[in-house]
């Protein structure tokens, strides 16, 4: 995405706007015209707990507003109120200045409000095309479903997002990131006046993000109002004109993006100073732990051979950043190392010995840990307590007859709670009572407690707020400093740049570059990650 010189220059320079060929940006002075959608003093309680406490915000035609806040600040809750998932306990919603009440998502949809949900809400078994239209399938004269139109429009919508997948393929065969793109396409195919995006880029890599930027600009030019939620502040700067910051369910500040700066936004969100990018103690790298030589996956597995020829080396005490665009093969590389997917060709060398893990347990026995990118799907046990989720990997050995060492586990967990600042009201309560960031910390703790020699971390800060993000980064630096070899997969380039010692880029499942982080720049990496022709 373009890095503007001055924040207020953003709009004039935004490439998307030119592309859209729409009118130049109309200055939205508050009160100048009746806002398209307005929330006045929204209050929402869950079982007597006030989650939103009198939040007001407004969206004018063509306005792009950022909604910022830490995990649990109430962003998604506002969105749920605006889209009829929940109903406010106080305050009012106004559409074109007239009060409205949405008792079901359907009604909000009819009012022209469409939402890209934070949690993927797709239909794994359905075809991509159908998933895009689910809930409002177009019908032909006979009142039957018009499959031809569905496929056509779906294809166009995906093309517009620069995503070329077979619209007839089942959603389940797409990557998390690709599914996220489909979610976006869904919102675009509706004739919307307001598009709400709840962390749409959480699992996207830079050039999808850029695509999204262009589209947001187009929407804005067409007079569609956009409410944009993200924890990535550079995106806020690039896409949004105005912003509202939430903290503990209250709107603590609002204004124009060009009149503020990132540090103050962070201060507003966190309610405290957060030191960004504070790099930890200097580390010296030791012997190589993991070496991949021309690693390739089996073809015809989940949308074809995603990994073709990956070469890389990770040393003790080193953080190796693995960068790539969606579907570059990072996750599947990790899955192969961890024994989750069959290996097509090439070899894995672990501590100087050739190694192939037949199963995760085998990989763990060999001292490998893996934090998957899909927290909800592959990490947490939703019904079980925080403590049980932590104990899952058996980091604390069981007593005779596999008797659980409850005290030992409690002690270990307590340590992590303190160190990582895990905010949990009760460790006996289900893990789903924690915010996303805190869940992620528990998962990391689960693996670090195992004291692995090699830790593979896939998208460690997906959907995590700035504060929590810093905690997680500090943690990763610390374990590296303790001599653990860390393979860091992240679609968040700044993250890769600040954390890594070395950075390897993948494109179409092949290693395209391997360089010290010190010498890398995001532009340079992007060039390596995308095809340049």
């Amino acid at each position: 995405m373009s890095q503007p010189s001055s924040l207020c220059g953003t709009y004039q320079q935004d490439p998307g706007r030119a592309a859209a060929g729409g009118p130049g940006i109309r200055p939205v002075a508050p009160g100048a015209e009746t806002p398209l959608l307005e929330a006045r003093g929204l209050v929402k309680r869950f079982f007597g707990v006030t989650v939103l406490d009198g939040v007001s915000l407004s969206l004018a035609r063509g306005e792009v507003r950022a909604l910022l806040g830490e995990n649990g600040a109430g962003k998604s809750t506002i969105i749920n109120l605006l889209s009829g998932v929940h109903q406010p306990d106080g305050g009012a919603l106004l559409l074109d200045g007239a009060p409205v009440r949405f008792s079901r998502p359907l009604e909000a949809g009819h009012a022209g409000i469409s939402v890209i949900r934070q949690e993927l809400s797709l239909f794994p078994e359905l075809s991509v095309a159908e998933a895009i239209f689910a809930g409002h399938l177009p019908r032909n004269r006979l009142g039957l479903v018009d499959w031809r139109q569905i496929r056509e429009v779906a294809r166009q919508a995906l093309a517009r997002l620069g995503l070329a997948v077979d619209v007839g393929a089942p959603v389940a065969s797409l990557s998390i990131a690709e599914q996220q793109m489909v979610e976006i396409a869904r919102a675009l195919t509706r004739k919307s006046r307001v598009v709400i995006m709840d962390e749409p880029t959480a699992s996207l890599s830079p050039n999808e993000v850029a695509h999204l930027g262009t589209i947001i600009a187009q929407l804005s030019a067409e007079g569609v109002a956009v409410l944009y939620v993200s924890h990535r502040l550079d995106e806020i700067r690039a896409f949004c004109r105005s912003y509202t910051v939430l903290r503990d369910g209250k709107a603590v500040s609002a204004g124009l993006v060009c009149e503020t700066d990132i540090p103050s936004l962070i201060r507003d969100m966190a309610g405290r100073e957060v030191a960004i990018g504070a790099s930890g103690a200097p580390r010296q790298k030791g012997a190589p732990v993991l070496e991949l030589r021309g690693l390739a996956s089996l073809p015809a597995k989940r949308g074809g051979q995603r990994v073709r020829a990956v070469d890389l080396v990770v040393h003790e005490g080193e953080i190796l950043g693995l960068a790539g665009i969606v579907g570059a093969g990072r996750t599947e590389t990790a899955r192969m190392i961890f024994g989750l997917d069959p290996i097509g060709a090439g070899e894995i060398v672990l501590n100087g010995q050739p190694f192939r893990a037949g199963s995760p347990s085998a990989a763990m026995a060999a001292g490998i840990g893996y934090v998957p990118e899909d927290r909800k799907g592959l990490s947490i046990l939703p019904e079980r307590s925080v403590a049980e989720n932590f104990a899952l990997t058996g980091a604390v050995p069981a007593g005779p007859f596999g008797w659980n060492d409850r005290p030992g586990e409690a002690k270990a967990l307590a340590g992590f709670v303190k160190k990582l600042g895990i905010r949990a009201v009760s460790l006996r309560a289900p893990i789903t009572t924690l915010s996303g960031g805190n869940q992620q910390k528990v998962i990391l703790a689960r693996w670090i407690a195992l004291k692995p020699k090699l830790l593979i971390i896939d998208e460690p800060t997906r959907g995590i707020d700035v504060g929590a993000k810093e905690d997680v980064h500090a943690l990763i630096r610390e374990i590296a400093a303790e001599g653990v070899a860390v393979l860091l997969i992240s679609s968040d380039l700044p993250e890769v740049l600040t954390l890594s010692d070395r950075i390897v880029t993948l494109r179409e499942g092949e290693t395209t570059s391997d360089q010290p982080a010190a010498r890398a720049s995001s532009e340079g990496l992007m060039a390596r990650m995308t095809r340049h022709d």
């Binding site: 809930g135 039957l144 070329a164």
Partner: protein, 335 residues
């Protein structure tokens, strides 16, 4: 990448197609085996026998397909068949001598009313269960397990345990009549299956069924009336059971409270053999028809080969599992 990936995905689609054909392949294999062991198996008479025998739980299985597609299950269909069959019978006879009369002079009603009674009884019962599932959010397994005993009990009280038999021609035609060489129940089954197929593949309701089965929360967020769909689906299988109950009573020229025992399991087996996933969202009526035929062929063939009764039970169980295993094996190839 994107290009290559597209190819790969369409390959996945080819496999998926193969996956859809798996049950058919298994069915053909079975037919070939039986035919080669006993040529008489292929006599048209026998084939029509199989079709007629399949038709009634086939009708149920079609309804069951909808239920399973939304991750539901219905164990009450067998009991519903008995209950609705008795409703039809009682109406057709105008009551039960010595117990109660429906008409002043105790004379029976026209078969249309009898059929209506059966279908209404079935649909109402289904609707009730649907409410419990959709509104009280009691698992379908429990609701219909309860329904199974409740409706059986009602059936017993209607007929006071005994059969109600002997109906007029019009009534009997639906179960024993022929159109040309084809038995009427077979045509009813075909019609039901066809309509169901169109509904599932070509209408919004049908697609909503798949969406709800695939991801209920997402379905709700995309404005689909999930509990509405649930209600309709259970009402629908109630309808099928009512229809089935009527046809069965007509076929047997008699309705009794123990009729239809075990049909629920046969129907579910047919659906699953047909490749519909018990976890919802994938499958369809086409497969179910194959599945129903497969079970029919199996039962008929083993008798034709006069396999001893005990061995029969053992074989039936094994082959059903084998059929599903085969289906899953093929399907796994596509992932």
């Amino acid at each position: 990448m994107t290009k290559a990936q597209a190819d790969e995905l369409s390959r996945a689609r080819i496999y998926a197609l193969l996956g859809r054909l798996a049950p058919l392949i298994f069915l053909l294999a079975l037919v070939i085996i039986f035919a080669s062991l006993q040529p008489r198996f292929l006599m048209p008479l026998n084939l029509f026998n199989i079709l007629r025998q399949v038709s009634i739980y086939g009708i149920i299985a079609v309804g069951m397909t909808f239920v399973i597609l939304i991750r539901g299950i219905d164990l009450s269909v067998g009991a519903l068949i008995a209950m609705s069959g008795l409703c039809a019978a009682v109406v057709a006879k105008g009551g039960i001598e010595g117990r109660f009369m429906l008409s002043a002079d105790g004379s029976g009603f026209h078969w249309t009313l009898a059929a209506l009674a059966a279908i209404l009884a079935g649909t109402a019962a289904g609707l009730l269960q649907g409410m419990a599932v959709a509104w009280l959010s009691v698992p379908a397994f429990v609701v219909t397990l309860g329904g199974m005993t409740v409706f059986r009990g009602i059936a017993l009280s209607i007929g006071n345990g005994g059969p109600v038999s002997g109906f007029d021609e019009g009534f009997g035609w639906w179960g024993r009549g022929m159109i040309g060489p084809v038995p009427v129940p077979v045509l009813i089954f075909a019609a039901v299956a066809l309509v169901a197929w169109v509904v599932l593949t070509q209408t919004r309701f049908g697609r909503a069924v798949y969406a709800v089965g695939s991801n209920p929360d997402a379905a709700r967020l995309s404005g689909i009336n999930v509990s509405g769909v649930t209600l309709s689906v259970y009402a629908l299988i109630g309808f099928c059971s009512g229809l089935g109950g009527f046809v069965l009573a007509s076929r047997l020229n008699s309705a009794e409270a123990v009729a239809g025992t075990g049909y629920e399991l046969t129907a579910i087996a047919a659906v699953v053999i047909g490749g519909t996933s018990l976890y919802g969202g994938t499958g369809g009526v086409g497969g179910t028809v194959i599945g129903a035929l497969l079970t029919g062929v199996l039962l008929n063939g083993l008798v034709i080969l006069n396999v001893s009764p005990y061995t029969q039970q053992i074989l039936v169980g094994l082959i059903i599992v084998a059929a599903v295993a085969f289906d899953h094996f093929i399907k796994r190839q596509s992932r």
